[in-house]
């Protein structure tokens, strides 16, 4: 059974069909890359999987671990292991990153009937992960993403991903705004989280990221559909020829 199974998905935003019959199967242990031109519906897909309000699923199905994902509240999906690293992480003033991480982690653990982490246990975990991502301690004491640089925000997303240990990670343009060193740190953080139990969907415009995070499958998305799938070579082909050749297929 696939970890994530999307069948004939149709999604409307403001009366416009943005996803138009999309199929996707992702198995545990796999890394899938999704590439595609601006506005092809990549972020929309990630939002619908995570349960963001404002989208209307007009047809199709999403199964996660065999369960109907669309029936679940977004926080329930999070507790069940769906994690989305946002293309544009928001800022939350007055709520320290530390408090935020703790509130979120405990909410997830509670939903799974697990015990909350003790304070020392929690602090130890956060410090470890933050250290490996080159995130300074003083950043954790600031408001969530407040005054963070673009790259710091992205690292903060990976910090959360590492802490929550989700089974499905969707990374929406995690490479945008990263300098070369930051890209390496983030990529190695992500690679460190690859495991046979976990799947990843990596949305990106650039092959460069896929040099670091080598995908098992590459999909090309255009006008709300997956129009071609292949192995990592497909990313190279795309870089050489662009998306033009797929426009018709969509």
């Amino acid at each position: 059974m696939a970890l994530l199974e999307i069948r004939d998905l149709h999604v409307g935003v403001e009366d416009r069909e943005v996803i138009r019959g999309l199929d996707l199967n992702v198995h545990a242990g796999e890394v899938h890359a999704i590439m595609g031109p601006n506005g092809s519906g990549k972020s929309t897909l990630s939002h619908v999987i995570a349960g963001k309000p404002g989208y209307e699923v007009t047809d199709g199905q999403i199964l996660f671990k065999g369960e109907d994902l669309l029936e679940m509240a977004p926080e329930e999906r999070a507790a069940k292991g769906v994690f989305l690293a946002f293309q544009y992480p928001v800022e939350i003033a007055g709520v320290t990153t530390m408090n935020f991480l703790r509130a979120a982690l405990n909410a997830q653990r509670k939903a799974r009937d697990q015990q909350e982490f003790s304070t020392p246990e929690f602090l130890k975990r956060v410090r470890e992960v933050a250290g490996s991502l080159n995130i300074r301690q003083d950043m954790l004491k600031r408001g969530v993403n407040v005054g963070f640089s673009g790259g710091e925000k992205k690292r903060n997303e990976i910090l959360q991903m590492a802490l929550f240990e989700p089974s499905l990670c969707i990374l929406d343009e995690i490479d945008s705004g990263l300098d070369i060193d930051a890209l390496r740190i983030v990529a190695s953080g992500i690679n460190g989280l690859r495991s046979p139990e976990r799947a990843m969907i990596v949305i990106t415009h650039y092959r460069r990221l896929l040099d670091h995070i080598v995908p098992d499958v590459v999909h090309v998305m255009s006008k709300g559909r997956i129009v071609k799938s292949g192995d990592k070579e497909l990313a190279l082909e795309l870089e050489a020829c662009g998306y033009g050749q797929f426009e018709d297929a969509a």
């Binding site: 309000p53 999070a78 544009y88 928001v90 929550f164």
Partner: protein, 498 residues
């Protein structure tokens, strides 16, 4: 769109109906006939066994009140109040004269129990030294004066306070037992002619708390008054007077609740604070009167005059308020900075939901030299509520070196509510430095979804964001109450978004 539809639904069902303190206590009470007249004023005075000067004071206020009209400048709307359709005095009918807590109607004790106000437990400790190494550390003790409808039903820790020289008692008792202090200070901050509601209060106030802290004394515990309106159609007009003599310190907290009723009830209190040289008064309010139901029916009209007078040099008065209840709130805890180098502070969290209307803020009147004031106001509007900050900062001609810092931030939840900031700033003196900052923001769907994607529920997400927003003020509350206030904030905002 399903999700949006749901949001709209939930906003519509806004749950001010979840008010937890809306129960009613069935006790027999003694009431004056409905309406207001000189006879009623005399009746109240007589019930309280007041001396003649007090009755005179009330009557003068009453006559004055007859010539006054209700203020209309606040951004609040309500049908005209029929002042003859209100009971001005209601007291739980005592079975006999009460001399100890054991003789208080058990129904009343149960009420305070339900409200989480520990009259009995605390009273049981009265005059008993804490066991060595015992759990009851003296600095966590809180002395409580409980006011039920118009009457103070119990004051705890009297003996221990007495040893420190602190007077903490119902004002009705103070009028009889400490007439020299009451006569000297009552009405000296809020004169009987001050405003419509303050004048009304001066005529008919029934009870409230009186505090006197002698020179150089640091009050050994938090003082607290708990107000409860129970009777139907009853106005509550409490009067509080706190005097901190030279070099003394006192921290005082008031809490308020009322049963859930369809008709509106009037609460028009007056609080006067006097700080002499080097004295400090911290006054905190957690106001949680019944706000009315989800259709905007019922709820308390909270028309309150609170003012502190920094009479002495280097004196300090600090107001902290968490306002979550009442159908309408009209209150401006203020500081008159008369003493040189005196300072005033106002920290406020005002939350409105459902159909609540809040018009609140402060006045900082700089009269002395080198006086300073600080205003931090956080308004949160949800549902269909209206939330206005109204503030006045003035520096008198002689108030050289006056300084003020004001920051008013408003947070909107949903798009059917409103937040407004109305600052008046007036410096008659070129050496004054007044700084004013104001922001209005909205909890965005994106911020909420970010939190929810990380596993928090809608309510937890709103709570987290709001707590971040009000943290600066919450930190100013006495520790014991900060936690309570935090809970209260999340209850008040339940169902504010879908």
């Amino acid at each position: 769109m399903v999700a949006l539809q749901e949001t709209v639904e939930r906003v519509r069902r806004i749950d001010v109906d979840q008010y937890r303190y809306g129960f009613e206590t069935l006790i027999e009470s003694e009431k004056a006939p409905k309406g207001l007249s000189e006879e009623i004023v005399k009746f109240i005075s007589q019930k309280k066994n007041e001396p003649a000067w007090m009755l005179q004071w009330r009557l003068e206020a009453y006559r004055r009140w007859l010539t006054m009209t209700e203020p209309t400048w606040a951004r609040v709307e309500y049908p005209k109040i029929d002042f003859q359709d209100i009971y001005y005095y209601a007291a739980p009918k005592p079975k006999k004269t009460v001399t100890s807590l054991d003789e208080i109607d058990p129904e009343i004790l149960k009420t305070y129990d339900k409200l989480g106000i520990p009259l009995r437990e605390v009273a049981a400790l009265e005059g008993v030294e804490p066991p060595p190494g015992g759990e009851q550390t003296p600095n966590r003790k809180i002395a409580v004066d409980a006011v039920f409808d118009s009457v103070s039903v119990a004051t705890t820790f009297k003996a221990e306070l007495k040893r420190a020289g602190v007077i903490f008692m119902p004002i009705s008792g103070a009028i009889r037992e400490h007439p020299e202090l009451v006569q000297k200070y009552l009405g000296s901050v809020v004169p009987t002619s001050d405003n419509f509601y303050a004048t009304l209060n001066s005529a008919v106030f029934s009870d409230g708390s009186f505090v006197y802290v002698p020179p150089g004394v640091r009050c050994p515990m938090e003082l607290s008054t708990y107000f409860r309106i129970n009777e139907r159609n009853t106005g509550q007009f409490e009067r509080t007077l706190i005097i901190a003599d030279k070099g003394s310190y006192v921290s005082y907290l008031e809490g308020c609740t009322a049963p859930q009723r369809d008709e509106n009830q009037l609460h028009a209190a007056v609080v006067e604070l006097v700080a002499l040289d080097d004295a400090e008064i911290k006054y905190s309010t957690v106001q949680n009167w019944y706000p009315g139901n989800s259709e905007g029916k019922g709820g308390i009209y909270n028309f309150v005059t609170k003012r502190g007078h920094c009479r002495g040099d280097r004196s300090k008065i600090s107001w902290t308020q968490v306002e979550t209840g009442s159908a309408i709130t009209w209150k401006y805890p203020s500081c008159i900075l008369r003493g040189d180098n005196s300072s005033g502070e106002f920290y406020s969290i005002a939350i409105s939901n459902g159909f609540q209307q809040v018009d609140s803020g402060t006045k900082m009147i700089h009269l002395g030299k080198n006086t300073s004031s600080r205003i931090i106001s956080k308004g949160i509007a949800a549902g269909k509520s209206q939330n206005t900050y109204r503030g006045l900062v003035t520096a008198h001609r002689k108030a050289t070196g006056a300084r003020n810092f004001t920051a008013c931030d408003s947070l909107l939840i949903g798009d059917k509510c409103g937040a407004h900031t109305v600052p008046y700033i007036e410096a008659k003196n070129s050496s004054a430095t007044f700084e004013h900052e104001a922001t209005t923001s909205k909890i965005s769907e994106d911020v909420l979804f970010y939190c929810i994607q990380r596993g928090l529920s809608q309510e937890e997400a709103v709570g987290l964001v709001v707590n971040g927003f009000v943290k600066q003020v919450l930190q100013k509350l006495p520790m014991e109450f900060a936690v309570e206030a935090q809970k209260l904030i999340s209850i008040s905002l339940d169902g504010s978004v879908g």
